[in-house]
């Protein structure tokens, strides 16, 4: 019988974690740079391997009080590291404001900043990935790609790529890093340098040996420190793992965390996924239970300790990147549930324990994802709904079968396709895949704006796409649509160019010897991830932003201009130019044209057309390794910066306001019901967007209040997936939202009121009604 509550120890860890300030530790940067100073002239991959080893062997070793799992990437509880080899100029520009910036601040002391200025920046000046990218990207592409918000891929040149799932099942737990080192040594010995490829492979294996030494040293140093602190059990574990395959559950978890630490120290990137934790940890859990080595409560505590560890490190990013990936969110995805490799239901004890861990500690990491298939047990579905009901936004729920189908379509064999996990946000992924899962953010609303504004941005006339005739000269809706698609194709083309440019430079400058250990294929081929070493290589994902906004805008033009003849294109554009000032009536009419998300084919079918086109255009390109590019509509917060550079749009949206994330309806426009919003979203062809399709749904608090209603939530999810949709995540309407609705009722017309027997066709959110809703007794009204 499991204990319902967190242990005192976890409560303490959680408190410390909440109170700690995110702080930048510069030791990693210092040691990494020192090593590079001493390795000039050597092969790049070996220089990077040596630098990693240096960090492991000389970096801070910090164990906090009574920790169950040890390992910190810096001296602080919430440490972040700086990786100047990717970019440093934004650090120099922004670090004095790190502590005071509004989005995701970090502390950094004077001494650290001084050291960075004195020793780090000067060394990397001219040598960083960012500088190389900026000097190599061609002018035409660069003009719309670099910090414009039109197409954006700075996470691929100001940062490392990340986006891998470590292969615990077949690599780390089977071999340990000691075994991997031995394997690399054997492979090195077996190569003779008689071809250029062989030379590269030798360098690769040499690098692998070095990084293995690094991670093993790191663990040994933690063992020594644990010994000093009188933690013999921890010391013993750190001596065994991760050099050796783990035996116990606790060793396995410590291995997971050390592996993760290695990834963070080598790259400081997003989407270093934990993968199918409930699947690969279960054998250790069951064996420990049987041998009497562990109790369920002890295992639960260890899982929660890992959750906190995953949340403690901070992904240090520029203010610009923080707008796209807000919330200190490193997107370490952990996927539970789904089916096994041979197609049976995979739900096990740990699946439930993971849900419970998130419920207990409520940390923002890991990014908990669930795979749901038709045979997912009702009890697990209810446990998922119970967690959703807690209002943290977790877990993200995914259509298990569709995920496998997407990977099958990408060429994976069926067993591997069934074994998928999420990468970062919504992307269906697998631990043997190398892929840039969020390569470029593409602003669809920019394409529309260019089409309507003679090929130029409304807010920044220096930016533009393809030259276009004045909007007044469009004679039909089809002409407008074609103009939009033409601009969109242009944006996609340059997104491809930006990706290819970045891919080439990554291969040249920032090979990933440590991460290449973790992905199947690299060791066998003797090839780094950045050179296509992974067993399966999938093309980069271009993420579209603003489907709803574009579809809604085209619908308005189609209806008001070309069907009803109420306004001319000239008048519409004049209104947009003035951000609707003086055109309030027109705006009201635009707002009342049926919007995507209300199950009206009128706007919905336009969304399908746009997204189908986006896909066709995207997959017509291939990347550095000959893989097709992939399409997606997702991305956590990219719709906010994307909206900030776009003027007013025909759907009634005001200039600079946010666009829409994924395939969700634009905020405040889904006035009908979650079922209608889902029906709209399900019309989109999810199966072709192999980078994922994100859908956020507002959840009524009344759904959460008892089991009967939570069951309806489960039904809602299953029904949505049966329509072929891929993902859904629920945002609970909080009291804070209700207060905002009081202040700005127009922006919250989509807040549904559901009381028995009450018709809400006419809800005007009068002050009294709002008060009534906020009042406890009628909170049920939502």
């Amino acid at each position: 019988m499991m204990n319902a509550a967190m242990t005192e120890r976890i409560k303490r860890f959680k408190k410390l974690y909440i109170e700690a300030k995110p702080t930048v530790s510069v030791e990693r940067a210092r040691l990494f740079t020192e090593s590079h100073k001493n390795s000039e002239g050597e092969a790049t991959i070996i220089r990077r391997a040596k630098a990693f080893r240096e960090v492991c062997q000389k970096g801070p070793v910090t164990i906090f009080d009574d920790e169950l799992i040890v390992g910190s990437i810096g001296e602080y509880l919430k440490s972040g590291v700086v990786c100047p080899e990717y970019s440093w100029s934004w650090v120099e520009e922004e670090m004095d404001d790190f502590a005071s910036r509004s989005q995701d601040p970090y502390a950094i002391d004077d001494k650290s900043r001084e050291m960075l200025r004195r020793e780090i920046f000067p060394y990397w000046k001219g040598k960083s990935l960012e500088e190389t990218f900026l000097s190599r990207i061609n002018d035409q592409t660069g003009r719309i790609l670099v910090d414009t918000g039109i197409i954006d891929n700075d996470s691929k040149w100001r940062n490392a790529v990340g986006e891998i799932t470590a292969d615990y099942q077949d690599i780390i737990f089977q071999k340990g890093f000691g075994g991997l080192k031995k394997e690399a040594e054997e492979k090195l010995a077996a190569v003779s340098p008689i071809t250029p490829d062989d030379l590269s492979r030798m360098e690769f294996y040499q690098a692998e040996i070095i990084v293995c030494e690094g991670i093993i040293s790191l663990a040994e140093r933690y063992a020594a420190r644990a010994e000093e602190l009188g933690m013999p059990e921890t010391a013993a574990i750190c001596r065994r793992a991760p050099a050796n395959p783990p035996v116990t559950f606790r060793e396995a978890i410590q291995t997971v965390w050390f592996t993760q630490m290695g990834s963070i120290l080598s790259e400081n990137s997003l989407a270093l996924n934990i993968g199918r934790f409930d699947q690969y940890m279960n054998p250790y859990y069951q064996a420990d239970l049987e041998a009497g080595r562990i109790t369920p409560d002890e295992a639960q505590e260890l899982i929660e300790a890992l959750w906190i560890k995953l949340s403690e490190w901070v992904w240090v990013i520029s203010a610009n990147t923080a707008k796209y990936f807000a919330g200190y969110n490193a997107f370490q995805n952990l996927t539970i549930g789904g089916r096994t490799r041979d197609g049976r239901d995979a739900t096990n004890d740990l699946s439930y324990m993971c849900l419970k861990a998130t419920s207990h500690v409520k940390t923002h990491q890991p990014g908990l994802s669930v795979r749901i298939h038709p045979d997912t047990p009702d009890s697990f579905m209810m446990a998922v709904c119970d967690l959703i009901a807690e209002g943290t936004g977790f877990p993200a729920v995914h259509n298990d079968r569709l995920g496998s189908e997407m990977l099958l379509a990408a060429g994976l064999p069926p067993e591997d396709a069934r074994d998928w996990n999420n990468c970062g946000c919504v992307v269906p992924h697998f631990r043997k895949i190398g892929e840039w899962t969020s390569a470029v953010s593409v602003n669809l609303a920019a394409a529309l704006e260019f089409a309507l504004n003679e090929g130029r941005s409304r807010l920044n006339p220096d930016l533009g796409g393809v030259t276009e005739k004045p909007a007044a000269d469009f004679k039909s809706y089809d002409e407008v649509k074609e103009a939009f698609l033409k601009q969109l194709a242009y944006l996609i083309k340059h997104s491809v160019i930006g990706s290819l440019t970045a891919q080439r430079i990554h291969a040249e400058m920032v090979p990933r010897p440590y991460l290449s250990l973790l992905v199947d294929g690299c060791m066998e081929k003797g090839k780094d991830l950045s050179h296509g070493g992974a067993k399966y290589n999938l093309g980069p994902v271009l993420t579209g932003i603003g489907v709803a906004d574009s579809a809604n805008s085209l619908a308005v033009i189609k209806k008001l201009v070309f069907e009803d003849g109420k306004y001319t294109m000239e008048q519409i554009c004049a209104a947009l130019e003035k951000d609707w000032q003086g055109y309030e009536d027109m705006r009201a009419e635009a707002l009342s044209v049926p919007k995507y998300g209300n199950d009206y084919d009128y706007a919905d079918r336009i969304a399908v057309e746009i997204s189908d086109f986006y896909h066709r255009e995207t997959v017509s390109y291939t990347d550095l390794f000959g893989s097709k590019f992939n399409s997606a509509f997702m991305g956590i917060s990219n719709y906010i910066p994307a909206g900030s550079i776009i003027g007013a749009t025909p759907d009634g949206r005001r200039a600079r306001t946010p666009l829409t994330e994924g395939i969700s309806p634009h905020a405040g426009t889904d006035l009908t019901s979650p079922t209608a919003a889902m029906r709209s979203a399900a019309k989109i062809n999810h199966d072709i967007h192999t980078g994922g399709t994100l859908m956020n749904v507002k959840l009524s608090p009344s759904l959460l209040k008892d089991e009967k209603n939570r069951r309806k939530l489960g039904s809602l999810i299953r029904a949505y997936f049966s329509l072929g949709a891929f993902h859904v995540q629920f945002n609970v309407i909080s009291t804070e939202t209700l207060r905002k609705a009081q202040e700005h009722p127009d922006d919250y017309r989509d807040l549904l009121v559901r009381v028995a027997g009450y018709s809400t066709q006419f809800v005007n959110l009068s002050r009294e009604a709002q008060e009534a809703i906020i009042e406890r007794t009628t909170y049920e009204g939502l």
Binding site: T672, S673, R718, Y758, S759, F762, S766, A769, A772
Partner: protein, 247 residues
């Protein structure tokens, strides 16, 4: 008006408080009562006016209801008929209920039972889940509060409870009007002898419909209030002690 046509004022998707599972609620226009606390005054008149109401055929209605079919199926939900008083358009309602049954939808109805039994029972007999409103057991007070006598309503209720096995009795609770223990004593006595009912459900007053009155050029309704949560709990306990199932 042909038999297969009716006047409705709303098809509300995602109705989660009007029966089992995820449902759509069809609100029919026209009501013989004028309850002092009514939250759907746009339902009173059977006519299309003030921007409320549309004439639909059963086919058109089914077309709209089909949209959430996948959600009904997955959740054990279906279609609820409400209003107004749905039984006022008996021919249309019967055809609609038959069409829902033919499509395999679970059906429910919310009714005041203010109708002739001969016309009501052929419809009610087809419906899976029935919600009836009993606003007040006292004849005089019922007239005062709703504008009609409760004689026919109680007769129908008695007959219904004898022959249908899924009837929930909804009691709107308005502070000071019908929340007295004495009022509920009469209700308890009435229900005690009717084994056929499933449960009593209290519907605390809410003022969400107040704003609609002005739009309809109706005088502003009196402001009421709901009994407190504690009072409601007390009433629930009272009925449960009498052996009745209370939601």
């Amino acid at each position: 008006m042909a038999a297969a046509e009716g006047v409705i004022f709303q098809v509300q998707r995602w109705s989660i408080h009007d029966g089992e599972g995820i449902r759509s609620t069809v609100f029919l226009k026209g009501c013989p009562l004028r309850c002092a606390w009514c939250a759907n005054p746009e339902s009173w008149s059977p006519k299309i006016e003030h921007g409320f109401g549309q004439l639909v055929t059963v086919e058109e209605l089914m077309r709209r209801l089909r949209r959430d079919e996948v959600f009904y199926r997955e959740s054990g939900g279906g279609v609820t008929f409400s209003g107004g008083e749905p039984l006022m358009q008996a021919d249309f309602l019967l055809a609609a209920v038959q069409a829902c049954a033919a499509s395999g939808y679970h059906t429910a109805i919310e009714t005041s039972l203010m109708a002739d039994w001969e016309k009501a029972w052929p419809i009610l007999g087809l419906i899976d889940e029935i919600f009836i409103d009993l606003k007040h057991m006292d004849h005089g007070l019922h007239c005062e509060l709703t504008g009609v006598s409760n004689k026919k309503i109680l007769e129908n209720a008695q007959k219904l409870l004898a022959v249908h096995n899924n009837v929930t009795v909804r009691v709107p609770l308005v502070e000071g009007l019908n929340d007295d223990k004495a009022d509920l004593e009469a209700l308890a006595a009435f229900l005690e002898n009717s084994p056929g009912f499933t449960a009593v459900e209290f519907m605390p007053y809410h003022n969400l419909g107040v704003a609609k009155y002005a739009r309809l050029n109706l005088p502003e309704p009196p402001i009421h209030s709901s009994p407190s949560a504690e009072a409601i709990d007390g009433l629930k306990r009272f009925l449960r002690r009498r052996g009745l199932n209370v939601l």
